[in-house]
Amino acid sequence: MSELAKRQPSQGMEQVDTVVDCDFHLLEQQSDFISYIDEPYSNVLFDAVDDPKELGTFYPSPGLFSSFTTGKVKQERIASREKVQKIKQELGVDHVIATSSTNLYLSCIPYDDVASALASAYNAWIMDKITDPNNGIHTPIVVAPQNPQRAAEEIEKYSDEPGVVAVSLPDGGVTPPLGDSIYYPIYEAAEKAGLPMVFHSASGTSMMSFPLQFQSYNQFIANHAFSHATQKMAHLSSLLFEGVPVRFPDLEFVLQEAGIGWYPYFMRRLDHEFQAEQWQAPMLEQMPSEYLKENFYLTSQPIEGSRDPQYVSQIIRLFEGQNSLMFSSDYPHFDFDYPDELLKLVGHEFDTEEINNMYGQTAKKVFGI
């Protein structure tokens, strides 16, 4: 990717006090963190600290044929504190919530204990090499849903660690869906630690969640178009109608990288189902959309309809995003949003206070920074 430094943000950004990038990505490789893995795995990884062998990475790969896998769009490697700082400055953001790229496929690993061990190794690595809260680099820890009890222990371990601002659960392909009771130890631990849950998918995880259809799509964009939002809807439906917001009333959730237009639709769709058959989820004391508005947050990237500011503004109003939408870039991924992209689309409709909420004030509260 070319230097960001030459690009100056639009003047409207001057009204924004603090910018928190709520979905900034490390672009790391397994070889960056594998040496941090605990026993007994460290005893049997004979030379896995070197570059992965053929078929040697432990994360399943969907085999995407896309602009970034063909090298048409270069995604620069980000795997050090110094690199994060450099990019942070070039983007002009004050804080980043730095999430993993490799671990977007964590939930696809078939070996439960290996998945937990890799998550722990990654978390140890970021504490050592990335996290830097005094300089605006905040990191979620990542947990593997395959082993909820170990995930809860991992959360407890990091609950007082400065710089750990959330629990990231890669939701792509997670089965059963995230409202299931097997995951409650994770939610209990996160709620107790005062950390929000962050859900982020990867389009290639359609190989797990929609395996039959995935085989039939001949274009990367055909799967990418529906994968993210569909996963979120699948998990939200489960989370709401299993009553997770009632069971864990102080737990907040952040939904990343699914775009925005589906969200006001799905709020109303959930309400539509519930109003007719509330007996199926009687633990809910208010409409599903009310829980979403109270305890759930959305990150902005990728903004669809970017040449249609009226669409974007109306959608944000329709889910009351002035309170719950949080700016994200997704840098360095291939469809990142440059920081003033959101402002260009909402500047005419929202006032300065609302814009500041979306760009950083809401995130500061949610992530405690």
């Binding site: 990717m1 070319s2 048409k72 291939f334 990142f336 440059y338």
Partner: protein, 135 residues
């Protein structure tokens, strides 16, 4: 992808009475498949040689302001009447390094049918020199 030059040049006014013509470089310095970046009146412009013809585009991608003139030049896929993918327009397309959007160098048009266009500038060739006209 062909090699590219990334030199910059301050476009100087060089033709008397025509102060909107800005000198870029000698024609012999810009070979086929090459490009040069120039700063003209605080606007960065990419000047390309596509098969002997010279074109000038603003170095500001219409998508999110990325450095469009610094991306690789390539061809692209089109679809033939049997819906098979055919590679064509070799070296006539420039790809934005930020998100991969593809633009026709000759017109600045976005290859997707969005009606987005990179602003282009008239090129004037005189006595072996390349000039860009800004008004």
């Amino acid at each position: 992808m062909t090699g590219d030059t990334a030199e910059s040049n301050d476009g100087e006014v060089a033709i008397e009475g025509e102060d909107d013509l800005h000198f870029v470089t000698e024609i012999e310095n810009l070979g086929s498949g090459e490009r040069i970046l120039v700063d003209i009146e605080e606007q960065e412009i990419g000047v390309f040689n596509v098969d002997g013809e010279i074109f000038a585009l603003a170095n500001w991608c219409a998508h999110q302001g990325g450095p469009i003139c610094e991306g690789p030049t390539t061809g692209t896929f089109s679809s033939n009447e049997d819906f098979e993918l055919v590679y064509s327009h070799e070296d006539q397309v420039v790809i934005c390094p930020w998100h991969g959007w593809e633009f026709d160098i000759k017109t600045g048009d976005h290859l997707a049918p969005t009606r987005i266009r990179i602003p282009s500038y008239e090129v004037v060739l005189q006595e072996g020199k390349i000039y860009v006209k800004t008004r």
